[in-house]
Symmetry: C2
Subunit: 364 residues, 2 copies
Amino acid sequence: PANKKLLLLPGDGIGPEVMQEVTKVLEFFDKKRIASFDMSEGLVGGASIDATGLPITPDVVARAKGSDAVLFGAVGGPKWDKVGFDVRPEVAILTLRRELGLFANLRPATVLDPLIEASTLKPDVVRGLDIMIVREATGGIYFGEPRGIETLPDGQKRGINTEVYTTSEIERVARVAFDLARQRQGRVCSVEKANVMESGLLWRQTVTALGAAEYADVALSHMYADNCAMQLVRNPRQFDVIVTGNLFGDLLSDLASMCTGSLGMLPSATLGAPDSSGRRLSLYEPIHGSAPDIAGKGVANPLAQTFSLAMLLRYSFDMKEEAALVEKACLSVLEQGLRTPDIMQDGKTRVTTQEMGTAVMREL
Amino acid sequence: PANKKLLLLPGDGIGPEVMQEVTKVLEFFDKKRIASFDMSEGLVGGASIDATGLPITPDVVARAKGSDAVLFGAVGGPKWDKVGFDVRPEVAILTLRRELGLFANLRPATVLDPLIEASTLKPDVVRGLDIMIVREATGGIYFGEPRGIETLPDGQKRGINTEVYTTSEIERVARVAFDLARQRQGRVCSVEKANVMESGLLWRQTVTALGAAEYADVALSHMYADNCAMQLVRNPRQFDVIVTGNLFGDLLSDLASMCTGSLGMLPSATLGAPDSSGRRLSLYEPIHGSAPDIAGKGVANPLAQTFSLAMLLRYSFDMKEEAALVEKACLSVLEQGLRTPDIMQDGKTRVTTQEMGTAVMREL
Ligand SMILES: CC(C)[C@H](C(=O)O)[C@@H](O)C(=O)O
Ligand SMILES: CC(C)[C@H](C(=O)O)[C@@H](O)C(=O)O
């Protein structure tokens, strides 16, 4: 079969450093003839702004569309804080989601036993935590029109954004959540503010109808977004799969991540709809940012990027065994006590980005 | 001076029970001739729906407008889950906020030492926590137009809500936050999603300009809402005053409350603009809901409603000493080890709603 086409977009800050460690894993699979990838690299974020004036060029978008999967690093930094709203580094992510139709953002929040103390929540509250948040990623208030800032006759300004969801947008992301739940504990919690927003009311009605019609085997519940924020702190283990809109998903998935205590460990996937041949555009990225303050110092944790590769192997290349292998290697390294500074604990061994990457390779 | 006019709106579920305990405190002040109140009661929420078909009647709104302060209980319950979107119990709160112009929702999140173990966060993370969240309450996506659910030509539905903020709406709520910060640690953190929403960008620009022009003595910082959700779990004590819009404020204030671990303890105030005579419409309510599952069982915690009265005395009646007296009484009772079931701990004394109310009275 043809080699899988993989586009690497390291981006800014610690992005390139952590990507570097992951390419070692890819080369290992290649050398061992387990799988062979057709890899290329592109510029995004500040790196792209510096080179082209744009956070992402049409050429890079086209190459992403032509790839079987995109592995993304992180973008942004103080250097580009003053660029215009339309060309800020984050636009690279938003453009890729939108142009590639990546509507389902999968955000696992899991607590690994060796890192249970990293959470600010009590160990009894988070032990064994395993939540999957499915966040809608190409709709809602992130993309709705009208939007903008206008000047009123009296000189005042008015800022406007629009939250819009159609039945089909809600259904397709809910399907992803229901399907995932079937492979997990069989429970979906749908989250909105149906008590104050009509878009949330339509969300609730649509998910309810779809669940009843096609997923009677999945237990569906509903929760208001404010309550969900509270429940993620009070008793996060009550959740299996959470499905929610773009904006609530932004806050709640980050919140759930922080409950695990180790942002430097968590990957994410953003998936499009499968086409007639079953091919599905997809992007994988660590949930941490570009962390410009620690960039270039060799202290970044490469494991979130490595776990992102594992998700990529599982969801896009159907390489479940290899994905599990990579995840097991990461876990072993943690069990051996190796820690980058972000997850350092008393009595453990502090290592650099490179040392961590090398240790993962050794495990493989 | 004329008696202060106080409107009590107990509402549904545990609302009436906890309000009952608070009226004892008011009667005590009256009997001791410390202050005399012109008290009356009205129906809101499900109780009002049952009696009139509406969650709040124009008559009750008018009486609220004519009062010096409103003390609100809680509304809602499964009995009214199926009423229409426009007449659901929550509309009572939204109508009061909107009609009385109560644009500044003050949500303290404090950890009392006797209850530090109630939090799911580690004691070292929350000890001494004292955050004040100022949430905009009459604007944003809660009230913006256009809104609704429409049917498209192809039979699909589309749900729409609009986030709108004008310069003056942002300025007046930011002023409340800056003024509060001056009486506290002098720090304001303004929260939005300026990286994806223009309304958030206008928010940031407006708060920045106001801070520079009039509050140079207050330290102003900015944070994206997703990051704020994380920081509230990672290190909540970094915050003094947080100011944010209606929707983010809904999630973040509930999240901050849950970080304290004792929702049954936390009050809130919602304030309007002072008129030319300095009079300011205001509403006070506990942040907990109507908790229909435990209503009528004598197990509800009346302390949040009692702390709400303390806020009322402080902010609306300028009775700072009496407010402090009430708060001290609540704290003493906790120090004596009395606990309603929601905050029960090993080795403490379990009490009923009434017993808790009586104990507070004894302290007074
Ligand atoms: C970078 C930014 C636009 C983005 C968002 O708000 O969606 C980020 O926070 C995320 O969650 O992926
Ligand atoms: C009752 C409901 C409309 C309300 C809101 O969402 O604002 C509540 O959650 C609150 O925070 O006061």
